[in-house]
Amino acid sequence: MRKYIAIFKSQIQITFAYSAWFWASMISAVFQLIILFYFWHAVYQNSDTIGNMNIKQMITYVMIATILGKFMNGAGSQLAGDIRTGQIATELMRPYNLLHKLMAMDLGGKTSDFIQSAVPLLVVAGLFFSITLPESLTAGILFVVSSILGILLAGVFDLIIGLLAFWTINTWGLRILRNAIVLFFSGSLIPISLFPPSMQLISQYLPFQSMVYVPVSIYTGAISGQDAWMAMGAQLFWIVFIYAVLRASWSQALRKVTIFGG
Protein backbone atom coordinates (compact mmCIF):
# COMPACT_ATOMS: atom_id res chain seq x y z
CA MET A 1 0.00 0.00 0.00
CA ARG A 2 2.81 2.38 0.88
CA LYS A 3 4.26 2.37 -2.63
CA TYR A 4 0.89 3.26 -4.12
CA ILE A 5 0.62 6.17 -1.73
CA ALA A 6 4.05 7.30 -2.90
CA ILE A 7 2.92 7.11 -6.53
CA PHE A 8 -0.25 8.97 -5.62
CA LYS A 9 1.75 11.76 -4.00
CA SER A 10 4.27 12.08 -6.80
CA GLN A 11 1.45 12.48 -9.29
CA ILE A 12 0.02 15.36 -7.29
CA GLN A 13 3.28 17.23 -7.66
CA ILE A 14 3.65 16.48 -11.34
CA THR A 15 0.35 17.97 -12.37
CA PHE A 16 0.75 20.95 -10.10
CA ALA A 17 2.10 23.15 -12.87
CA TYR A 18 0.05 25.92 -14.35
CA SER A 19 0.31 25.73 -18.10
CA ALA A 20 -1.44 27.23 -21.07
CA TRP A 21 -3.41 24.01 -21.23
CA PHE A 22 -4.63 24.53 -17.72
CA TRP A 23 -5.85 28.04 -18.43
CA ALA A 24 -7.51 26.93 -21.65
CA SER A 25 -9.45 24.23 -19.85
CA MET A 26 -10.38 26.59 -17.02
CA ILE A 27 -11.71 29.24 -19.38
CA SER A 28 -13.60 26.61 -21.34
CA ALA A 29 -15.15 25.33 -18.12
CA VAL A 30 -16.23 28.82 -17.16
CA PHE A 31 -17.80 29.21 -20.62
CA GLN A 32 -19.67 26.01 -20.01
CA LEU A 33 -21.02 27.30 -16.70
CA ILE A 34 -22.14 30.55 -18.33
CA ILE A 35 -23.96 28.67 -21.08
CA LEU A 36 -25.65 26.42 -18.51
CA PHE A 37 -26.73 29.43 -16.52
CA TYR A 38 -28.42 31.20 -19.42
CA PHE A 39 -29.79 28.03 -20.97
CA TRP A 40 -31.55 26.93 -17.82
CA HIS A 41 -32.87 30.38 -17.10
CA ALA A 42 -34.45 30.33 -20.55
CA VAL A 43 -35.89 26.90 -19.83
CA TYR A 44 -37.48 28.19 -16.64
CA GLN A 45 -38.84 31.33 -18.30
CA ASN A 46 -42.40 30.04 -18.40
CA SER A 47 -42.49 27.59 -15.52
CA ASP A 48 -41.48 27.64 -11.89
CA THR A 49 -40.70 23.98 -11.50
CA ILE A 50 -39.56 21.28 -13.86
CA GLY A 51 -39.59 17.72 -12.63
CA ASN A 52 -40.11 18.96 -9.04
CA MET A 53 -37.04 21.17 -9.22
CA ASN A 54 -37.03 24.94 -9.07
CA ILE A 55 -34.52 27.05 -10.99
CA LYS A 56 -32.16 27.37 -8.06
CA GLN A 57 -32.02 23.63 -7.47
CA MET A 58 -31.62 22.99 -11.18
CA ILE A 59 -28.73 25.44 -11.61
CA THR A 60 -27.10 23.97 -8.54
CA TYR A 61 -27.55 20.47 -9.90
CA VAL A 62 -26.22 21.08 -13.42
CA MET A 63 -23.24 23.11 -12.28
CA ILE A 64 -22.08 20.66 -9.64
CA ALA A 65 -22.77 17.79 -12.04
CA THR A 66 -20.77 19.48 -14.80
CA ILE A 67 -17.80 20.01 -12.49
CA LEU A 68 -18.01 16.49 -11.07
CA GLY A 69 -18.43 15.19 -14.63
CA LYS A 70 -14.90 16.36 -15.38
CA PHE A 71 -13.60 13.64 -13.07
CA MET A 72 -15.26 10.78 -14.89
CA ASN A 73 -12.26 9.84 -17.00
CA GLY A 74 -9.47 7.59 -15.81
CA ALA A 75 -6.21 5.88 -16.56
CA GLY A 76 -7.73 3.78 -19.34
CA SER A 77 -6.08 5.68 -22.17
CA GLN A 78 -2.72 5.36 -20.46
CA LEU A 79 -3.27 1.62 -20.12
CA ALA A 80 -4.33 1.36 -23.77
CA GLY A 81 -1.24 3.32 -24.75
CA ASP A 82 1.03 1.01 -22.74
CA ILE A 83 -0.56 -1.98 -24.41
CA ARG A 84 -0.29 -0.54 -27.91
CA THR A 85 3.36 0.49 -27.59
CA GLY A 86 4.37 -2.70 -25.85
CA GLN A 87 5.46 -0.72 -22.79
CA ILE A 88 3.18 -3.05 -20.83
CA ALA A 89 5.79 -5.81 -20.90
CA THR A 90 8.26 -3.65 -18.97
CA GLU A 91 5.55 -2.38 -16.67
CA LEU A 92 4.56 -5.92 -15.77
CA MET A 93 8.06 -6.70 -14.57
CA ARG A 94 8.00 -3.87 -12.04
CA PRO A 95 7.31 -4.70 -8.42
CA TYR A 96 3.77 -3.37 -8.35
CA ASN A 97 0.36 -4.26 -9.62
CA LEU A 98 0.02 -2.18 -12.77
CA LEU A 99 -3.72 -1.63 -12.31
CA HIS A 100 -3.20 -0.32 -8.81
CA LYS A 101 -0.33 1.85 -9.94
CA LEU A 102 -2.46 3.38 -12.68
CA MET A 103 -5.30 3.99 -10.26
CA ALA A 104 -2.93 5.63 -7.79
CA MET A 105 -1.54 7.88 -10.52
CA ASP A 106 -5.02 8.73 -11.73
CA LEU A 107 -6.26 9.62 -8.26
CA GLY A 108 -3.15 11.70 -7.67
CA GLY A 109 -3.84 13.63 -10.87
CA LYS A 110 -7.46 14.08 -9.91
CA THR A 111 -6.50 15.37 -6.49
CA SER A 112 -4.44 18.14 -8.04
CA ASP A 113 -7.21 18.78 -10.56
CA PHE A 114 -9.64 19.07 -7.71
CA ILE A 115 -7.56 21.69 -5.94
CA GLN A 116 -6.49 23.55 -9.07
CA SER A 117 -9.70 23.59 -11.04
CA ALA A 118 -12.71 22.16 -9.25
CA VAL A 119 -12.37 24.40 -6.21
CA PRO A 120 -12.01 27.64 -8.20
CA LEU A 121 -14.89 26.60 -10.45
CA LEU A 122 -17.08 25.91 -7.44
CA VAL A 123 -16.19 29.34 -6.09
CA VAL A 124 -17.06 30.93 -9.44
CA ALA A 125 -20.34 29.01 -9.52
CA GLY A 126 -21.12 30.07 -5.96
CA LEU A 127 -20.27 33.75 -6.44
CA PHE A 128 -21.69 34.45 -9.88
CA PHE A 129 -24.37 31.86 -10.46
CA SER A 130 -25.54 31.60 -6.85
CA ILE A 131 -25.60 27.86 -6.48
CA THR A 132 -26.87 26.81 -3.09
CA LEU A 133 -25.06 25.03 -0.30
CA PRO A 134 -25.83 21.35 0.38
CA GLU A 135 -29.26 20.58 1.84
CA SER A 136 -27.78 19.87 5.26
CA LEU A 137 -24.45 19.15 6.91
CA THR A 138 -25.14 15.41 6.62
CA ALA A 139 -25.96 15.84 2.94
CA GLY A 140 -22.70 17.71 2.50
CA ILE A 141 -20.63 14.97 4.13
CA LEU A 142 -22.48 12.19 2.31
CA PHE A 143 -21.99 14.11 -0.95
CA VAL A 144 -18.22 14.12 -0.47
CA VAL A 145 -18.16 10.39 0.29
CA SER A 146 -20.54 9.60 -2.56
CA SER A 147 -18.54 11.74 -5.02
CA ILE A 148 -15.38 9.84 -4.15
CA LEU A 149 -17.24 6.58 -4.73
CA GLY A 150 -18.50 7.91 -8.07
CA ILE A 151 -15.01 8.93 -9.15
CA LEU A 152 -13.60 5.54 -8.12
CA LEU A 153 -16.34 3.78 -10.07
CA ALA A 154 -15.64 5.82 -13.20
CA GLY A 155 -11.91 5.15 -12.80
CA VAL A 156 -12.38 1.39 -12.59
CA PHE A 157 -14.78 1.44 -15.52
CA ASP A 158 -12.31 3.43 -17.60
CA LEU A 159 -9.60 0.83 -17.01
CA ILE A 160 -11.86 -1.84 -18.51
CA ILE A 161 -12.21 0.27 -21.65
CA GLY A 162 -8.43 0.71 -21.73
CA LEU A 163 -7.95 -3.01 -21.29
CA LEU A 164 -9.87 -3.61 -24.52
CA ALA A 165 -6.73 -2.48 -26.32
CA PHE A 166 -5.60 -6.08 -25.91
CA TRP A 167 -8.33 -7.13 -28.31
CA THR A 168 -8.88 -4.14 -30.60
CA ILE A 169 -6.70 -1.42 -32.05
CA ASN A 170 -9.42 1.19 -32.34
CA THR A 171 -9.62 2.15 -28.69
CA TRP A 172 -10.07 5.84 -29.45
CA GLY A 173 -13.44 5.15 -31.05
CA LEU A 174 -14.48 3.13 -28.03
CA ARG A 175 -13.29 5.94 -25.84
CA ILE A 176 -15.48 8.50 -27.54
CA LEU A 177 -18.40 6.11 -27.36
CA ARG A 178 -17.71 5.59 -23.68
CA ASN A 179 -17.52 9.36 -23.15
CA ALA A 180 -20.88 9.84 -24.86
CA ILE A 181 -22.57 7.14 -22.81
CA VAL A 182 -21.05 8.27 -19.52
CA LEU A 183 -21.83 11.91 -20.29
CA PHE A 184 -25.45 11.12 -20.82
CA PHE A 185 -26.28 8.26 -18.47
CA SER A 186 -24.23 9.50 -15.54
CA GLY A 187 -26.56 12.46 -15.29
CA SER A 188 -23.88 15.09 -15.73
CA LEU A 189 -25.89 16.86 -18.46
CA ILE A 190 -29.32 16.66 -16.90
CA PRO A 191 -30.84 14.99 -13.83
CA ILE A 192 -31.88 11.40 -14.55
CA SER A 193 -35.23 12.23 -12.94
CA LEU A 194 -36.04 14.32 -16.04
CA PHE A 195 -35.47 11.36 -18.39
CA PRO A 196 -38.52 9.71 -19.94
CA PRO A 197 -39.74 6.88 -17.65
CA SER A 198 -38.38 4.10 -19.88
CA MET A 199 -34.90 5.62 -19.89
CA GLN A 200 -35.03 6.10 -16.13
CA LEU A 201 -35.81 2.43 -15.76
CA ILE A 202 -32.90 1.38 -17.97
CA SER A 203 -30.66 3.75 -16.13
CA GLN A 204 -31.46 2.10 -12.79
CA TYR A 205 -29.83 -1.10 -13.96
CA LEU A 206 -26.73 0.63 -15.30
CA PRO A 207 -23.70 1.67 -13.26
CA PHE A 208 -23.51 5.16 -14.78
CA GLN A 209 -26.00 7.01 -12.62
CA SER A 210 -23.85 6.09 -9.62
CA MET A 211 -21.10 8.24 -11.07
CA VAL A 212 -22.65 11.71 -11.03
CA TYR A 213 -26.41 11.63 -10.52
CA VAL A 214 -26.31 9.96 -7.10
CA PRO A 215 -23.73 12.24 -5.44
CA VAL A 216 -25.19 15.44 -6.86
CA SER A 217 -28.74 14.42 -5.93
CA ILE A 218 -27.54 13.80 -2.40
CA TYR A 219 -26.08 17.33 -2.47
CA THR A 220 -29.33 18.92 -3.64
CA GLY A 221 -31.41 16.80 -1.27
CA ALA A 222 -33.28 15.00 -4.04
CA ILE A 223 -31.96 11.79 -2.56
CA SER A 224 -31.86 11.80 1.24
CA GLY A 225 -32.23 9.72 4.39
CA GLN A 226 -32.72 6.01 3.81
CA ASP A 227 -32.55 6.46 0.00
CA ALA A 228 -29.15 8.11 0.23
CA TRP A 229 -27.70 5.14 2.10
CA MET A 230 -29.30 2.76 -0.39
CA ALA A 231 -27.87 4.71 -3.34
CA MET A 232 -24.41 4.69 -1.80
CA GLY A 233 -24.77 0.96 -1.22
CA ALA A 234 -25.48 0.62 -4.94
CA GLN A 235 -22.37 2.66 -5.68
CA LEU A 236 -20.29 0.31 -3.56
CA PHE A 237 -21.84 -2.70 -5.23
CA TRP A 238 -20.96 -1.38 -8.69
CA ILE A 239 -17.39 -0.61 -7.70
CA VAL A 240 -16.89 -4.13 -6.34
CA PHE A 241 -18.65 -5.71 -9.30
CA ILE A 242 -16.77 -3.77 -11.99
CA TYR A 243 -13.50 -4.23 -10.16
CA ALA A 244 -14.12 -7.99 -10.16
CA VAL A 245 -14.81 -7.91 -13.90
CA LEU A 246 -11.66 -5.83 -14.38
CA ARG A 247 -9.50 -8.33 -12.47
CA ALA A 248 -10.99 -11.28 -14.32
CA SER A 249 -10.39 -9.74 -17.76
CA TRP A 250 -6.98 -8.56 -16.61
CA SER A 251 -5.83 -12.10 -15.87
CA GLN A 252 -7.33 -13.21 -19.20
CA ALA A 253 -5.38 -10.47 -20.92
CA LEU A 254 -2.15 -11.32 -19.14
CA ARG A 255 -2.36 -14.82 -20.49
CA LYS A 256 -2.38 -13.20 -23.91
CA VAL A 257 0.78 -11.27 -23.08
CA THR A 258 2.57 -14.46 -22.06
CA ILE A 259 1.51 -16.08 -25.31
CA PHE A 260 3.00 -13.17 -27.23
CA GLY A 261 6.16 -13.78 -25.29
CA GLY A 262 6.16 -10.12 -24.34
Partner: protein, 263 residues
Protein backbone atom coordinates in the same frame (compact mmCIF):
# COMPACT_ATOMS: atom_id res chain seq x y z
CA UNK B 1 -6.86 28.88 -59.04
CA UNK B 2 -7.83 26.12 -61.48
CA UNK B 3 -4.47 24.54 -60.84
CA UNK B 4 -5.06 24.55 -57.10
CA UNK B 5 -8.51 23.06 -57.51
CA UNK B 6 -7.13 20.24 -59.63
CA UNK B 7 -4.34 19.71 -57.13
CA UNK B 8 -6.79 19.61 -54.26
CA UNK B 9 -8.69 16.95 -56.09
CA UNK B 10 -5.55 14.82 -56.37
CA UNK B 11 -4.77 15.24 -52.67
CA UNK B 12 -8.37 14.47 -51.81
CA UNK B 13 -8.57 11.38 -54.03
CA UNK B 14 -5.35 9.93 -52.63
CA UNK B 15 -6.68 10.24 -49.08
CA UNK B 16 -10.12 8.89 -49.86
CA UNK B 17 -8.41 5.87 -51.38
CA UNK B 18 -6.62 5.25 -48.08
CA UNK B 19 -9.86 5.69 -46.14
CA UNK B 20 -11.61 3.05 -48.17
CA UNK B 21 -8.81 0.65 -47.30
CA UNK B 22 -9.16 1.36 -43.59
CA UNK B 23 -12.92 1.43 -43.61
CA UNK B 24 -13.24 0.07 -40.07
CA UNK B 25 -11.49 3.19 -38.77
CA UNK B 26 -13.79 5.24 -40.90
CA UNK B 27 -16.91 3.60 -39.45
CA UNK B 28 -15.68 3.93 -35.88
CA UNK B 29 -14.70 7.57 -36.37
CA UNK B 30 -18.01 8.29 -38.02
CA UNK B 31 -20.05 6.54 -35.36
CA UNK B 32 -18.24 8.11 -32.45
CA UNK B 33 -18.65 11.67 -33.71
CA UNK B 34 -22.22 10.97 -34.65
CA UNK B 35 -22.97 9.49 -31.28
CA UNK B 36 -21.41 12.20 -29.15
CA UNK B 37 -23.29 14.86 -31.11
CA UNK B 38 -26.47 12.86 -30.86
CA UNK B 39 -26.11 12.93 -27.08
CA UNK B 40 -26.33 16.73 -27.11
CA UNK B 41 -29.37 16.64 -29.38
CA UNK B 42 -31.08 14.08 -27.19
CA UNK B 43 -30.37 16.34 -24.24
CA UNK B 44 -32.40 19.09 -25.94
CA UNK B 45 -35.16 16.59 -26.61
CA UNK B 46 -35.31 15.62 -22.92
CA UNK B 47 -35.51 19.27 -21.92
CA UNK B 48 -38.34 19.89 -24.37
CA UNK B 49 -40.27 16.98 -22.84
CA UNK B 50 -40.85 19.38 -19.97
CA UNK B 51 -41.35 22.70 -21.78
CA UNK B 52 -43.06 23.86 -24.98
CA UNK B 53 -40.89 26.78 -25.99
CA UNK B 54 -37.46 27.95 -24.97
CA UNK B 55 -37.37 31.73 -24.89
CA UNK B 56 -39.82 31.81 -27.79
CA UNK B 57 -38.09 29.04 -29.78
CA UNK B 58 -39.68 25.71 -30.52
CA UNK B 59 -37.91 22.38 -30.39
CA UNK B 60 -37.60 22.17 -34.16
CA UNK B 61 -36.29 25.70 -34.43
CA UNK B 62 -33.56 24.81 -31.96
CA UNK B 63 -32.83 21.63 -33.92
CA UNK B 64 -32.60 23.74 -37.05
CA UNK B 65 -30.03 26.05 -35.44
CA UNK B 66 -28.14 22.99 -34.27
CA UNK B 67 -28.33 21.48 -37.74
CA UNK B 68 -26.78 24.53 -39.41
CA UNK B 69 -24.05 24.59 -36.77
CA UNK B 70 -23.30 20.88 -37.26
CA UNK B 71 -23.16 21.01 -41.04
CA UNK B 72 -21.09 24.19 -41.00
CA UNK B 73 -18.76 22.68 -38.46
CA UNK B 74 -18.45 19.54 -40.58
CA UNK B 75 -17.09 21.60 -43.49
CA UNK B 76 -14.48 22.99 -41.15
CA UNK B 77 -13.71 19.55 -39.75
CA UNK B 78 -13.52 17.64 -43.02
CA UNK B 79 -11.50 20.13 -45.04
CA UNK B 80 -9.64 22.35 -42.57
CA UNK B 81 -8.90 20.00 -39.70
CA UNK B 82 -5.14 20.16 -40.22
CA UNK B 83 -5.15 23.75 -38.96
CA UNK B 84 -5.40 22.36 -35.43
CA UNK B 85 -2.10 20.55 -35.84
CA UNK B 86 0.08 23.35 -37.24
CA UNK B 87 1.86 23.84 -33.94
CA UNK B 88 2.20 20.27 -32.78
CA UNK B 89 2.85 18.43 -36.04
CA UNK B 90 4.40 21.06 -38.25
CA UNK B 91 6.16 23.85 -36.40
CA UNK B 92 7.36 21.92 -33.36
CA UNK B 93 8.70 19.07 -35.49
CA UNK B 94 10.13 21.31 -38.18
CA UNK B 95 7.84 19.74 -40.76
CA UNK B 96 6.58 23.16 -41.65
CA UNK B 97 9.77 23.61 -43.66
CA UNK B 98 8.58 20.82 -45.91
CA UNK B 99 5.65 22.99 -46.95
CA UNK B 100 7.98 25.87 -47.70
CA UNK B 101 10.20 24.02 -50.15
CA UNK B 102 7.25 23.24 -52.40
CA UNK B 103 6.18 25.47 -55.28
CA UNK B 104 2.80 25.95 -53.61
CA UNK B 105 1.02 28.26 -51.25
CA UNK B 106 1.93 26.75 -47.87
CA UNK B 107 -1.56 27.28 -46.46
CA UNK B 108 -3.05 25.39 -49.36
CA UNK B 109 -0.57 22.59 -48.92
CA UNK B 110 -1.28 22.43 -45.22
CA UNK B 111 -5.04 22.22 -45.70
CA UNK B 112 -4.82 19.73 -48.56
CA UNK B 113 -2.54 17.52 -46.47
CA UNK B 114 -5.47 16.25 -44.45
CA UNK B 115 -9.04 15.23 -45.09
CA UNK B 116 -10.62 14.45 -41.74
CA UNK B 117 -12.99 11.56 -42.17
CA UNK B 118 -14.51 11.94 -38.70
CA UNK B 119 -16.19 15.12 -39.89
CA UNK B 120 -18.53 13.03 -42.00
CA UNK B 121 -20.30 12.10 -38.76
CA UNK B 122 -21.12 15.76 -38.17
CA UNK B 123 -22.15 16.20 -41.79
CA UNK B 124 -24.59 13.32 -41.69
CA UNK B 125 -26.02 14.29 -38.32
CA UNK B 126 -26.34 17.94 -39.38
CA UNK B 127 -28.07 17.01 -42.60
CA UNK B 128 -30.49 14.73 -40.79
CA UNK B 129 -31.25 17.45 -38.25
CA UNK B 130 -31.82 19.97 -41.03
CA UNK B 131 -34.03 17.50 -42.90
CA UNK B 132 -36.19 16.75 -39.87
CA UNK B 133 -36.48 20.30 -38.62
CA UNK B 134 -37.13 21.86 -42.05
CA UNK B 135 -40.30 19.81 -42.34
CA UNK B 136 -41.58 21.11 -39.03
CA UNK B 137 -40.79 24.79 -39.55
CA UNK B 138 -43.63 26.99 -40.64
CA UNK B 139 -41.75 27.89 -43.78
CA UNK B 140 -42.44 27.34 -47.42
CA UNK B 141 -39.29 25.85 -48.88
CA UNK B 142 -38.65 26.85 -52.49
CA UNK B 143 -35.64 26.06 -54.64
CA UNK B 144 -33.90 29.37 -53.93
CA UNK B 145 -34.44 28.97 -50.21
CA UNK B 146 -32.50 25.73 -50.33
CA UNK B 147 -29.74 27.46 -52.29
CA UNK B 148 -29.69 30.25 -49.71
CA UNK B 149 -29.49 27.69 -46.90
CA UNK B 150 -26.55 25.98 -48.60
CA UNK B 151 -24.76 29.33 -49.00
CA UNK B 152 -25.35 29.98 -45.31
CA UNK B 153 -23.99 26.59 -44.31
CA UNK B 154 -20.86 27.11 -46.40
CA UNK B 155 -20.43 30.57 -44.88
CA UNK B 156 -20.77 29.00 -41.46
CA UNK B 157 -18.01 26.51 -42.29
CA UNK B 158 -15.79 29.34 -43.50
CA UNK B 159 -16.37 31.34 -40.33
CA UNK B 160 -15.36 28.37 -38.19
CA UNK B 161 -12.27 27.89 -40.35
CA UNK B 162 -11.37 31.58 -40.47
CA UNK B 163 -11.51 31.99 -36.70
CA UNK B 164 -9.46 28.82 -36.35
CA UNK B 165 -6.90 30.09 -38.84
CA UNK B 166 -6.62 33.36 -36.98
CA UNK B 167 -5.78 31.66 -33.71
CA UNK B 168 -3.49 29.02 -35.16
CA UNK B 169 -1.34 31.80 -36.59
CA UNK B 170 -0.11 32.52 -33.07
CA UNK B 171 1.76 29.22 -33.38
CA UNK B 172 4.35 31.04 -35.48
CA UNK B 173 5.39 32.94 -32.38
CA UNK B 174 4.54 30.56 -29.56
CA UNK B 175 5.20 27.19 -31.29
CA UNK B 176 1.88 25.64 -30.36
CA UNK B 177 -1.18 27.81 -29.91
CA UNK B 178 -3.50 24.84 -29.51
CA UNK B 179 -4.80 25.87 -26.05
CA UNK B 180 -5.61 29.29 -27.47
CA UNK B 181 -7.43 27.75 -30.43
CA UNK B 182 -9.27 25.43 -28.11
CA UNK B 183 -10.42 28.30 -25.95
CA UNK B 184 -11.59 30.32 -28.96
CA UNK B 185 -13.31 27.29 -30.41
CA UNK B 186 -15.17 26.65 -27.18
CA UNK B 187 -16.84 30.02 -27.60
CA UNK B 188 -18.72 28.37 -30.46
CA UNK B 189 -20.60 26.28 -27.89
CA UNK B 190 -22.60 29.40 -27.08
CA UNK B 191 -23.93 29.47 -30.61
CA UNK B 192 -25.72 26.14 -30.26
CA UNK B 193 -28.65 27.95 -28.69
CA UNK B 194 -30.55 31.06 -29.75
CA UNK B 195 -28.45 34.11 -28.87
CA UNK B 196 -31.58 35.71 -27.41
CA UNK B 197 -31.17 33.69 -24.22
CA UNK B 198 -27.90 35.46 -23.38
CA UNK B 199 -27.26 38.85 -21.86
CA UNK B 200 -26.34 41.77 -24.09
CA UNK B 201 -22.54 41.74 -23.60
CA UNK B 202 -22.39 38.05 -24.55
CA UNK B 203 -24.54 38.71 -27.63
CA UNK B 204 -22.24 41.54 -28.71
CA UNK B 205 -19.17 39.36 -28.29
CA UNK B 206 -20.73 36.54 -30.32
CA UNK B 207 -21.72 38.96 -33.06
CA UNK B 208 -18.85 41.40 -33.39
CA UNK B 209 -15.82 39.99 -31.59
CA UNK B 210 -15.75 36.21 -32.06
CA UNK B 211 -18.65 36.07 -34.51
CA UNK B 212 -19.81 32.52 -33.94
CA UNK B 213 -23.36 33.90 -33.91
CA UNK B 214 -23.15 33.86 -37.69
CA UNK B 215 -22.31 30.16 -37.80
CA UNK B 216 -25.86 29.13 -36.94
CA UNK B 217 -28.17 31.51 -35.13
CA UNK B 218 -28.37 34.50 -37.49
CA UNK B 219 -28.70 32.48 -40.69
CA UNK B 220 -31.33 30.30 -39.02
CA UNK B 221 -33.55 33.28 -38.27
CA UNK B 222 -34.17 33.71 -42.00
CA UNK B 223 -36.18 30.52 -42.04
CA UNK B 224 -37.89 30.68 -38.65
CA UNK B 225 -40.52 33.03 -37.35
CA UNK B 226 -37.99 35.51 -35.92
CA UNK B 227 -37.77 38.43 -38.30
CA UNK B 228 -35.75 40.95 -36.24
CA UNK B 229 -32.40 39.77 -37.49
CA UNK B 230 -32.84 39.71 -41.27
CA UNK B 231 -30.06 42.20 -41.97
CA UNK B 232 -27.55 40.41 -39.77
CA UNK B 233 -28.62 37.11 -41.27
CA UNK B 234 -28.13 38.31 -44.82
CA UNK B 235 -24.63 39.65 -44.20
CA UNK B 236 -23.45 36.20 -43.05
CA UNK B 237 -21.55 35.47 -46.30
CA UNK B 238 -19.92 38.89 -46.08
CA UNK B 239 -18.91 38.20 -42.49
CA UNK B 240 -17.41 34.91 -43.61
CA UNK B 241 -15.45 36.67 -46.37
CA UNK B 242 -14.18 39.40 -44.05
CA UNK B 243 -13.07 36.91 -41.42
CA UNK B 244 -11.23 34.82 -43.95
CA UNK B 245 -9.47 37.91 -45.33
CA UNK B 246 -8.46 39.11 -41.86
CA UNK B 247 -7.32 35.65 -40.81
CA UNK B 248 -5.35 35.14 -44.01
CA UNK B 249 -3.70 38.54 -43.64
CA UNK B 250 -2.69 37.64 -40.12
CA UNK B 251 -1.41 34.27 -41.34
CA UNK B 252 0.78 36.04 -43.90
CA UNK B 253 2.23 38.23 -41.15
CA UNK B 254 2.86 35.15 -39.03
CA UNK B 255 4.50 33.36 -41.93
CA UNK B 256 6.79 36.31 -42.50
CA UNK B 257 7.75 36.26 -38.84
CA UNK B 258 8.46 32.55 -39.13
CA UNK B 259 10.73 32.94 -42.15
CA UNK B 260 12.65 35.74 -40.51
CA UNK B 261 13.17 34.10 -37.14
CA UNK B 262 13.10 30.42 -38.01
CA UNK B 263 12.51 27.89 -35.35
Amino acid sequence: MVRYMKLYWHFFAAQVKVMTEYWVDFIIGFMSVFFIQFTSVYFIKVVFDHIDVLNGWTFYEILFIYGIASTGRSIHQIFFDNLWLVGRDYIRTGNFDRLLIRPLNPLFHLIADKVQQDGVGNLVLGTILLGISMNHLAFDWGFWDIVLLIVMVISSGLIYSGINLFFVTFSFWMVDSFPLMQTAFNVSQFARYPLTIYSKPIRIILTWVVPYGFTSFYPATLFTGHKNYTTLALITPAVAAIICVIAYGFWIIGLRAYTSTGN
